[in-house]
């Protein structure tokens, strides 16, 4: 009896061509952006020799420094808060059996993935402006809260996946060995869940770092993050400084994604 060959997409005619085309379309613009970040001239599309000039300009630009600091502060807080909430949500949805309203809970947790971002942005703008009037507070808290909210589903998914792959007999064994529910979480569930939690936090961090739409609507005057600062620059003369900032962001993202892959691969 001959073995039936598994269907292999790479044998289809034109596969190589389409694959190359897709890669070119995806990466050509990014490669161009990275190359022109090293442009010595003033243009983002006319080469004027290799130089690190624009990295220096960006690094010395106080507006860029402020925006970077703000972006990092918001991303750190948002990933911590959203990961904590997502961990609780994941425990609640995987460690207590089926319950009525479970689907509703899933929808609520994943709501930021489904509702158009612009709708959430407008809603937050209107809501927060009344809160600002009522409280007089206009600090970074609004941005941190908004970012925390839309980061939850991204943090939730890897944590939930990890929990679902974890057998509950570990927790049963801990309870058998005199661990209270809190001790069980502290000494057994959390250490085993940690790769999922770290992966969730990293995803949340990147998503927060990258956000434009909601940030643009929610920020008060002088609260630019790196992406909204760059958006603002578009309205003026575009210089390779934007390329340099983008390339730096790209490098950071790649670094975090690489760590993410390592962390999630080490499971089990």
């Amino acid at each position: 009896m001959g073995k039936t060959r598994a269907f292999d997409v790479t044998t289809l005619p034109g596969f190589t061509f389409i694959a190359i085309l897709a890669f070119v379309l995806l990466y050509a613009p990014i490669v161009t952006l990275v190359i022109y970040s090293f442009n010595g001239g003033n243009s983002v599309n006319q080469w004027g020799g290799f130089s690190l000039e624009w990295y220096a300009v960006a690094a010395q630009n106080e507006a860029v420094q402020d925006a970077t600091a703000r972006s990092l502060i918001i991303a750190v807080w948002a990933s911590v808060i959203s990961t904590a909430l997502a961990t609780m949500a994941a425990l609640g949805t995987t460690r207590r059996g089926k319950f009525t309203g479970q689907t509703v809970i899933y929808v609520i947790i994943n709501q930021p993935l489904m509702v158009p971002e612009i709708v959430t942005a407008v809603a937050l703008l209107i809501f927060f402006s009344s809160v600002k009037v009522a409280t007089g507070y206009s600090g970074l808290g609004y941005l941190i809260l908004a970012h925390s909210a839309f980061c939850i589903p991204f943090a939730y998914l890897p944590i939930k996946a990890r929990l679902e792959g974890m057998d509950t007999t570990m927790e049963t064994a801990a309870a058998d060995l005199y661990a209270t529910p809190l001790q069980t979480f502290r000494y057994v569930t959390l250490p085993l869940l940690l790769p999922g939690v770290i992966a969730g936090a990293m995803l949340a961090f990147i998503i927060s770092l990258d956000n434009v739409i909601i940030t643009e609507f929610v920020k008060s005057a002088g609260q630019d993050t790196l992406p909204t600062y760059m958006l603002g620059q578009l309205r003026r003369a575009l210089t390779p400084e934007v390329n340099a900032i983008s390339t730096a962001l790209l490098a950071l993202t790649i670094l975090i994604l690489t760590l993410f892959v390592f962390v999630t691969k080490k499971r089990g």
Binding site: T169, D176, L177, T180
Partner: protein
């Protein structure tokens, strides 16, 4: 109040789920397990052994009835408050902790001082002969070693009762035999009450002080291995433990007349009417000479030290005899032979 009783289960019932999908795992089980006893729950798959164990450990709450530990009602206590530990069938060792940390886990959770934990871990690891493996992770151990870590982990907090749910089923035959005597030794050395679950009747017979035979959520018979083997009270127990011939008959004149018309002087305790006789193959002897009864050999199976003969009696009912292979006479299929039954050893079951 009897102070010799470790676990006292009274009318325990457990129903999983509700409505149309409800499963009755335990009907109405009452059992008293003595302190320091090696007690085995024996029964076929799905009869509720694990469920009873989980109720004692506190992982399940009985639907009815109560469970007492040394006289205290623990039915609704959470597992972490019960001085009862479990050896899980899958071992359930914590993969992120070393052998020593696994073994010390229970004591640490109970708030013992680090020095006391370390001392207890050393002592228990020595007990299971794993001193040299203290700093390994569970995945760096063989199956048999993991098994002993699981045992050490459950013994370290010195529970009043140790529950073992088919702990040996994942081991190969040789290792299983080794662990069986290891378990007996540990039980004798620690004096802890062991409740052991198995569906292997030989394991149950060789290891236990007493056995409880379960079937379909009910406890059918409790007794010593001798009681269970020699004096089964139900057809299920007689059939489940060892090999048994069943002959139908009826009581006549303080004897039992079986289908062939022969009368057997079996021990009766006031039974009347139709009865079932449970006859072990070793209680049947076969001769070439005339005997009480006769039959024809339809099958002979050589099994090393013994040979099993299947004999068709006059009324067509089959009877299996176990004869030592070394015995003087051997028989062939088709031979007509004399059959004698050691009537005093026959067990009479109500039909």
């Amino acid at each position: 109040m009897n102070t010799d009783i470790a676990i006292d289960a009274r009318n325990v019932g457990k129903i999983y789920g509700s409505g149309a999908g409800a499963v009755t795992a335990l009907g109405d089980v009452s059992i008293s397990i003595k302190k320091g006893e090696f007690f085995t729950l024996l029964g076929p798959s799905g009869c509720g052994k694990t469920t009873l164990l989980r109720c004692i450990a506190g992982f399940e709450t009985p639907t009815k009835g109560s469970i007492h530990l040394s006289g205290t009602d623990i039915t609704y206590d959470p597992p972490y408050q019960r001085p009862v530990n479990t050896v899980f069938q899958s071992y359930a060792l914590f993969p992120h902790l070393t052998v020593a940390q696994n073994v010390g886990f229970g004591l640490k959770m109970r708030g013992a001082a680090a020095a006391d934990v370390a001392q207890a871990v050393d002592r228990v690891l020595a007990l299971v002969k794993l001193e040299d493996f203290a700093n390994r992770l569970p995945q760096q151990l063989s199956g048999g070693q993991q098994q002993r870590v699981a045992l050490a982990r459950a013994l370290a907090p010195e529970p009043q009762v140790l529950l073992l749910d088919e702990p040996l089923s994942a081991l190969d035959l040789k290792l299983r035999k080794e662990m069986q005597s290891e378990l007996k030794r540990l039980q004798a050395e620690t004096g802890i009450t062991f409740i052991f679950v198995t569906h292997d009747q030989e394991e149950a017979l060789t290891m236990s002080d007493r056995i409880g035979v379960m079937s379909a959520g009910a406890l059918l018979q409790v007794g010593t291995p001798h009681d269970i083997y020699d004096r089964p009270t139900t057809r299920f127990v007689a059939d489940f433990i060892g090999e048994t011939n069943f002959l139908e008959g009826s009581v006549e004149d303080h004897q039992v007349r079986i289908g062939t018309g022969d009368l057997l002087a079996v021990p009766l305790e006031g039974e009347t009417g139709p009865v079932t006789l449970a006859i072990r193959p070793e209680q049947v002897s076969v001769t070439s000479a005339q005997a009480d009864m006769s039959g024809k050999i339809t099958d002979a199976t050589y099994m090393g030290t013994d040979t099993h003969y299947t004999i068709e009696l006059k009324d067509g009912s089959p009877l299996v005899a176990r004869i030592q292979s070394k015995s003087t006479a051997t028989f062939d299929v088709g031979d007509t032979v004399g059959v004698a039954i050691d009537a005093r050893a026959v067990q009479v079951l109500k039909s």
